[in-house]
């Protein structure tokens, strides 16, 4: 259990007056309040720290005790014994108490608990609060993201089955309402946030709803034209190659891309880039024929 320097947390001097503490707290609260820092876990952590610091330093009795025994909190039992009969927890309020953020036992550091236990919070109003939200990350490959399917995640020993809609994006977060922590004092449960991490596919690249792939064709098909079969996420597709197709030529297969998220039946496009394979290790006969072709071109 580490000692917490609450003066440092509030960025004030040990000799700070009540007004200076209040001012420092309000300044930091405006900076780190969860409403002005949505989805920022670091800000949320900092906000809890400054609240805790304010609860100690903003209350004269708590501050007195902290100043006396802060760094030597391990000796708190002796301190309590020496002051038997004295009540160190008055009913005065700290400057502010952001209880609407549903602080519970987990929101206080072990250090705070060791110094002040639960008594300093007896002034807190008994309000109902929503439980904490949980968040987790789920890894999918591109093929899995292509189809709507069900998945089960285990959170705190509970299996939660949910549907992943086709077309989910890398980095996208979905909310499963009511699967977070239990509410406080009968409040509603928190929510579960699942962020998806989608792996690259060896053959296909994705940009939103469009897919990109490279198909290698041989020199003869590029020169003479013909039919090839290409793989798509939707199965194999036959494709005509025009005679004289150049290396790097791009074609678009409409509607063969990725499904549009939550728009059933709508798909992006598939863009194919042709890469022409130049034959190597030619036989004598082939060399002879290529030379002949070359002469025909240059003559």
């Amino acid at each position: 259990m580490a000692f917490i320097d609450y003066y440092k947390v509030l960025e004030i001097d040990k000799k700070a007056t009540d007004a200076e503490i209040k001012k420092a707290f309000r300044k930091l609260a405006r900076k780190y309040h969860p409403d002005v820092n949505p989805n920022d876990k670091e800000a949320e952590k900092k906000f809890k720290e400054i609240n805790e610091a304010n609860e100690v330093l903003g209350n004269p009795e708590n501050r007195k005790k902290y100043d006396a025994y802060g760094e030597n909190w391990k000796h708190i039992a002796e301190y309590e014994k020496a002051n038997q009969g004295q009540t160190y927890y008055n009913q005065s309020q700290p400057h502010e108490d952001f209880t609407s953020y549903g602080r519970d036992a987990d929101d206080y550091s072990d250090f705070f608990e060791s110094l002040f236990g639960n008594r300093s919070r007896t002034h807190s109003k008994r309000h109902q609060y929503k439980g904490s939200d949980y968040s987790t990350e789920l890894h999918l490959d591109l093929q899995e993201a292509y189809t709507t399917h069900k998945r089960t995640v285990t959170i705190n020993g509970h299996n939660i089955r949910f549907t992943i809609p086709a077309g989910i994006e890398n980095g996208q977060t979905i909310k499963i309402a009511g699967h977070g922590a239990e509410g406080i004092a009968g409040g509603p449960k928190g929510d579960l946030y699942i962020t998806f991490s989608i792996k690259n596919h060896p053959d296909f690249k994705r940009d939103k709803n469009n897919l990109y792939t490279t198909v290698t064709i041989d020199l003869y098909k590029a020169v003479l034209g013909g039919e090839i079969t290409v793989n798509t996420f939707d199965g194999k597709v036959k494709l005509n190659i025009a005679p004289g197709t150049q290396n790097g030529t791009k074609v678009k297969l409409k509607g063969k891309g990725f499904p549009v998220y939550k728009e059933e039946g709508h798909f992006g496009d598939l863009y194919i880039t042709f890469q022409i394979h130049i034959p190597t290790k030619l036989s004598n006969k082939e060399l002879e024929l290529f030379t002949e072709l070359s002469k025909l071109r240059t003559s």
Binding site: A29, H33, V36, N170, R206, K208, Y212
Partner: protein, 97 residues
């Protein structure tokens, strides 16, 4: 109008211990939409998440109505930038193996 999905402003005033002026000012600044039914002011229940956010900013951070408007606009801009960043990051994957 069916008021099933609406919450009377008076109920909000009692719950958040705020004057009705606060909600009227939010309405005048276009931050909430107050509906009048049989001379009773209501807000739609879907707007309660945003209203609570504004109430917290006002009560806990001492931000006035104009300040709340500015904060919400800036948060909207941050959200748009984050979406753009997310899209750019995904586009970068096109060039990574």
């Amino acid at each position: 109008m069916n008021t099933e999905n609406f919450i009377p402003i008076n109920t909000l005033c009692q719950h958040y211990k705020l004057e009705i002026n606060f909600f009227n000012n939010l309405n005048e600044n276009g931050l909430i939409e107050i509906q009048l039914v049989d001379n009773i002011q209501y807000v739609h229940k879907d707007s309660i998440y945003e209203i609570e956010k504004m109430v917290r900013m006002h009560k806990e951070l001492d931000v006035n109505i104009e300040g709340i408007d500015i904060v919400l606009n800036l948060l909207q801009k941050i959200d748009a930038l984050q979406t753009e960043l997310h899209n750019v990051r995904n586009r970068l994957l096109l060039y990574e193996n």
